[in-house]
Amino acid sequence: MSILVDENTRVIVQGITGGEGKFHAEQMIEYGTNVVAGAVPGKGGQEVHGVPVYDTVDRAARAEDADASVVFVPPAFAADALFEALDAPLDVVVAITEGIPTQDVSEVYEQLRRTDTRLIGPNCPGIITPGEAKLGILPGNIFTDGDVGLVSRSGTLTYQIVDSLTQRGIGQTTAIGIGGDPIIGTDFIDALELYEADPDTKAVVMCGEIGGEDEEDAARYIAEYMDTPVVGFIAGRTAPPGKRMGHAGAIVSGSGTGTAASKINALESAGVPVGDTPSVVADHVENIL
């Protein structure tokens, strides 16, 4: 079992003829993902890695009965591509693109609320259900099938945590990188809710970072609604206020909101053990399972 994507998910790659789109479409197919179509305006009728390309998402979705897409469209055109995916409509849309103007994302987010589509990202590594499907740029070979659900704001930190789990022989049901931007389609609570409802997910690892209050909100949700045990990790304990640490969303404000200490406190108060290092996170998970 898994959440959101599995071997039956029929995937469109938006931007499949571009460098990134082409490379990662191939990687996804090699992993076993059911990539059924590409969508690129003006490139309808072509084929990429044996996958038919359509001019519009609507045509691709109807012709190939697709229910998900991965978006590799450049920032200036990404919001339009996301509106197109929401309009198709699709069940799951994964926005890999980094650097979409925030006001554009805000408009997409407003439209998203009026649909039943689950948007992951933008500026995220994607989602993977080990052995079944990966939608995004995560290196498939480091993941293994197992009992732990993973949700993270950061890509490479996800890989690090997975690596620490793998060393103990612990695999994943599904792993989601929700993205490091200020406005994202799927937040921690959305992902936790899905894992809570998945009978095969025996524990969840949640990797947060400084900035915003999503982790604090998630802590309240865990305390109130979750039976599945959660283990936390928070990056950015040493980050100074007012400095953006790489991700657009990773900044401790001048007034001190968004600090690692506040997030760690909130999680610990909700009964969530927070690992000081990735291997301590793995220790906690090992104890739970």
Binding site: Q103, S106, P125, Q160, F233, A235, R244, G246
Partner: protein, 381 residues
């Protein structure tokens, strides 16, 4: 991108938000001339963005040419929290009876813009938000339709603004929202909006930040000379296109991906060291970028040891290893001990390529950080 006060005020003027009469000056002579022409009293204001600019001596109120000269001499060339002041705004001092706050920003939790008004103007609004949140009236905005006029009125009346000027303040909020929307603003703030005894409404200060990711379609703003970091290494990293933040420790850190680099910093601290910087080489970095990253970290005199932490997804371990070798082989003597940890894509190839005469290779993140912290301690002694 953070605009200077004088740039933001030009935007305001063009949009129809009234600001005090002012002139930009980059020398003492220019400042005095501007003060004479505007007429006293005038404020001489340092054009750098640091919190508490007034308290730190960056703003002086003057009544005569002599005072204006002294103030300009004090302020031009002064250091304000790491920034050198090279320009001042000479501005007519406004005689006010009331100060308000008006702002527009993106509420990341709600995912939509928010327009704000408060009668607690002229003070740090973040403190107001924390201690007296009800003193700020907030209106969330549907980004597709913009701020409706009724919402601007509602915010102004809810904030308790004097009815005599409510219409004018609502107009300023509407104009500020439209400007924020059209120019891809991230934060726009007028603090304070001054109300004069004649009932005029004037933007006395201006904060305007534009979304860096939107500069591709904001060509006029992109051409403006924005606030650059006063730190040489941060400026150099900016030119190379790295996300880099300088800290005050002695363990230099290079990694890929913001979350993993932050985690590496945290681990340095956890094992008793002190991080010297945050440097993210980004995804898919090739050998050349790795060389540039090392160049920046070595250029920091505080650095006593360097740790590389790469977990390859789209970044390839062999490329990183080649970059490290190239960079280090160019030195007769390597400035600081370097520890490398490679994992993920092509990491095994990378480990074979690495010249172990020049670097220490560790298998795990924890071991690499501990090694580098120990190296830094040894060098520092």
């Amino acid at each position: 991108m953070r605009l200077h006060e004088y740039q933001a005020k030009r935007l305001f003027d063009e949009a129809g938000i009234s600001t005090p009469k002012s002139t930009l000056a980059s020398s003492v002579e220019e400042a005095v001339e501007a003060a004479e022409s505007i007429g006293y009293p005038v404020a001489i204001k340092a054009q750098v963005h640091v919190g508490g600019r007034g308290k730190a001596g960056g703003i002086e109120l003057t009544d005569t040419a002599e005072e204006a000269r002294e103030a300009a001499e004090d302020i031009i060339g002064m250091e304000l929290k790491g920034y050198t002041v090279d320009r001042v705004l000479v501005e007519a001092a406004v005689d006010f009876i009331n100060e308000l706050y008006v702002g527009v920003t993106m509420d990341r939790g709600a995912g939509k813009p928010v327009a704000m008004v408060s009668t607690k103007g002229g003070v740090n609004i973040e403190e107001v938000a924390e201690n007296d949140p009800d003193a700020i009236a907030r209106e969330h905005v549907d980004p597709a339709s913009g701020l409706h006029p009724y919402q601007a009125r509602k915010a102004v009346y809810d904030a308790g603004v004097d009815r005599a000027v409510a219409g004018d303040v609502a107009a300023i909020l509407s104009t500020l929202y439209d400007l924020w929307d059209e120019t891809d603003g991230s934060d726009a703030e007028i603090n304070p909006v001054m109300i004069t005894d004649e009932g005029e409404v004037v933007a006395a200060d201006a904060v305007f930040n534009v979304d860096d990711d939107a500069l591709f379609r904001q060509s006029e703003i992109a051409q403006l000379e924005g606030e650059t970091s006063g730190d040489d290494l941060e400026a150099m990293a900016g030119e190379y296109g790295f996300d880099y933040v300088r800290l005050d420790g002695n363990v230099g850190i290079i990694g890929n991906g913001a979350g993993l680099v932050m985690t590496t910093l945290d681990l340095v601290d956890y094992y008793g060291g002190a991080p010297a910087n945050f440097l993210d080489i980004g995804g898919g970095a090739k050998a050349g970028r790795v060389r540039n990253a090392l160049e920046i970290v070595f250029a920091d005199d505080n650095v006593d040891a360097v740790v590389f932490n790469i977990f390859g997804g789209i970044t390839r371990g062999d490329e990183v290893a080649r970059g490290i070798n190239d960079a280090l082989e160019a030195f007769d003597e390597i400035p600081n001990p370097v520890t490398v940890r490679l994992a993920g894509t092509n990491s095994e190839e990378g480990m074979e390529i690495l010249n172990t005469d020049l670097v220490t290779v560790e298998e795990t993140l924890e071991a690499a950080v501990q090694r580098s912290v120990a190296d830094a301690e040894e060098v520092a002694q």
